[in-house]
């Protein structure tokens, strides 16, 4: 059985609010799957449903082909970081991992291994309540890694981490995926997943908006756009617009041209005597791609915000 998370037609309602509304997606091995959506879109609910903490009203979530609640040593199958502050503040970091290890029959030496791996070896005997948010995140990640599981889930792991920490966790996720594990990582900021995620599941209001590979998404969003660096921005804009291109100002000396190929842009500008210092293919950011993606669905964004309140 390949490591995976499969979510099928999952539905969960809390009183009058539908948090997850017929969600289906799959997290595959060897990839980091980004799970994005605005706050309140249902990301955390979905993760709780995957972990069997909440019961779905309909549909199912399978981890490595099995419902989570039927797993006997779940920590060796799925590691999850949901809420880094979900620990007893009076307990030492090491004891927190120790009871988790005992509960799943995980060898005790793993506790020291993961503490070392997340860089908490020197603070193992400090009370977790005195930890900074970043240290608590690291402890939560240590707990997720404890059982050396083939599937990992992280809910907003970057929260509270300093820049060093952010670089570290991205590297960690990449290397975990490279080892063939299935990784699901949620974020409400698309930018955070840049350079990390291979695949993207975007949700809004409990429904899937997009389920696509990051490479394809970026290619689609980049289209045939060309970026022109020029001191004569106004002139360049006029010339290119007259030729039928859509021109967007992207900086004080930068415009993005859509609808006209790169060769033709160079020819048009040269012909008109507009000087330019650089001409390159435009590469969309994930943020832009996401905006493109959700543009059609923008009308319900305010509603999402309302339901999140």
């Amino acid at each position: 059985m390949e490591p995976s998370i499969e979510v099928r037609a999952l539905r969960k309602r809390y009183r009058s609010t539908v948090a997850v509304d017929g969600l289906s997606f799959t997290v595959r091995p060897g990839e980091v799957t980004g799970f994005v959506g605005p706050n309140g879109a249902g990301k955390s609910t979905t993760m709780r449903l995957i972990l069997g903490l909440d019961s779905p009203d309909a549909g199912e979530a399978l981890v490595n082909g099995q419902p989570y609640r039927s797993l006997r040593t779940p920590l060796t199958q799925v590691g999850a970081l949901l809420d880094a502050s979900a620990l007893h503040p009076g307990r030492q970091a090491r004891d927190h991992l120790l009871w988790l290890a005992y509960s799943n029959g995980i060898p005790k030496r793993r506790v020291d291994e993961v503490l070392d791996e997340v860089g908490l070896a020197s603070t193992a005997h400090r009370r977790a309540g005195g930890f900074s948010l970043g240290m608590q995140q690291r402890l939560g990640i240590a707990a997720a890694l404890l059982g050396d599981p083939p599937v990992l889930m992280f809910d907003e792991p970057v929260n509270g981490l300093d820049p060093d920490g952010i670089v570290w966790i991205r590297g960690l996720m990449r290397s975990l995926a490279a080892q063939g594990r299935a990784i699901l990582v949620s974020s409400h900021l698309m930018g955070e997943l840049e350079d990390t995620a291979d695949h993207l599941v975007a949700i809004g209001r409990g429904r899937v908006i997009a389920d696509t590979s990051v490479a394809k998404l970026l290619a689609a969003a980049s289209k045939d756009r060309v970026e022109v660096a020029t001191a004569q921005r106004a002139e360049a804009t006029t010339v290119l617009a007259n030729a039928g291109a859509t021109v967007t100002v992207a900086g004080p000396e930068t415009v993005v041209v859509e609808g006209v190929g790169g060769d033709r842009v160079a020819a048009l500008l040269t012909e008109a005597g507009v000087a330019f210092s650089e001409l390159r293919r435009h590469r969309a950011t994930l943020e832009e791609a996401y905006m493109d993606l959700t543009r059609g669905a923008l009308e319900f964004v305010p509603e999402i915000e309302r339901s999140a309140r």
Partner: protein, 501 residues
Amino acid sequence: MTARESFPGLLLAEWTKLRSVSRWATTLLGAVALTIGLGYLTASSNRTDVNEYGDFVAGPLGEPVSDVFYFVHQPITGDTTITVRVASLTAAQPEAIRRVGGEQMTLHKPDSPFAGATAGVMIKDGTEPGSSYTAVVLTAAHGVRMQWDFDADRKGSASSGTRWLRLVRAGNTITGYESADGSAWQRIATATPKRLQSTMEVGFYVSSSAAVYVSRVAGSTSTGETPTYSDAVFDSVQLGSATAWKANQVGNPAPFAKGDAPQPGRLTESGGTYTVTGVGQVGPRPLDDDIVEMALFGVIAGLMALIAVGVLFATSEYRRGMIRTTFAATPRRGRVLAAKAIVLGVTSFGIGLAGAIGSFLVAIPIMQSHGYTPPGHPSPSLMDGPVIRVMLLTAAFMAVVAVFGLGVGVLLRHSAGAITLTIVLVLLPVIVGSMLPSTAARWLMLTTLAGGLATQRAKPPTIALVEPWAMISPWAGITVVSAYAAIALLLAWWQLRRRDA
């Protein structure tokens, strides 16, 4: 990785949780200190002079006894057999309610085979109160019994009507028999009484326990006694080498009565039929105060600390969402609850046992130096059966209440609320019960957590004390508390299963 799920592993996980929060460890040790400390203070402030002016009759075993009855007897040397037919036994019928100085007192009916109206045959070491004896008796409420030395009691038939009774002395033993018709005899038991001289007083007798009246008002219990008189008719009296019968009252029928001395019993004889009127009781008469229970006064304080840990062991899981970490690690929630209950129960049992034994060792010597000595208060030892029972059941009581707190914690998910509720459920019935009439107080103890305090009593239940829990047996007490804990755990389990974490 070779991970394997096991219930012992889960127990170890929950034990790690319990021991790794240093505040809880401190509280658990504090529970021992509180229990012993309060026991020490109570022992230091209690004094008694009961042995100095009490009208004590000590039995052949050195314990306080009641030895009051009307005895028709003669001295017989060597082996002998006495046979009588109790033609009838007419028990006194004391009124159910008495008014004393405007206060209403209710009759207490002790459920003891030594109490009530009795008529029987007896072989006794002289007529001095407290001397060794062996008897076969027909009782008004407990059938035929064989009893000796104020302590031993063996059941015969359940007969309450006309009955033949017989005692046979052979050397150092006495055997008791009964019969419906005087020809077919059933053996009841064979006794070896403490003192069996060559010459013993042999005869027949009637006793009739004093009617005990009790009233309970806020914070105090009053008891009063009135002698009662019961009659029995004996005929077919057979005693080998019999001479003349002597008849006299043994013991004082009402030692504490003021004014007119109560009437002793009496005998009328006509043609071999003897009608005897008796007053008094033959049997054990322990003081109501129980020094083992008094030594454990601090248990209630230690219990408060244990309740706090028990509740927090559950509610701390909810305070910061740790329960999700717990259930993600062990999706089978019932097993988590079971592991928590077992770990908490066993730990609390150990803490309770340490507190109880410590209190006993600290408080008993102090109380003994303050007048709580034999014969009124025989010296208890940790090896005595009732004391061992008290230690184990008291520890069990504390453990079970802590587990109840755990269940309430899971149900309420709120520390202060759950701690308060559990403590109120233990203390409120004690306060209310000490103001209620004894039947209501007894009922309250049989239905609430406070009944568990009965586990502290080494002596039998009594209604004469203010402490309402003294009215029920320790086993009834621990049963009530266990039922509470079981129900709380079942509700908690049901909630955990159906609720989102």
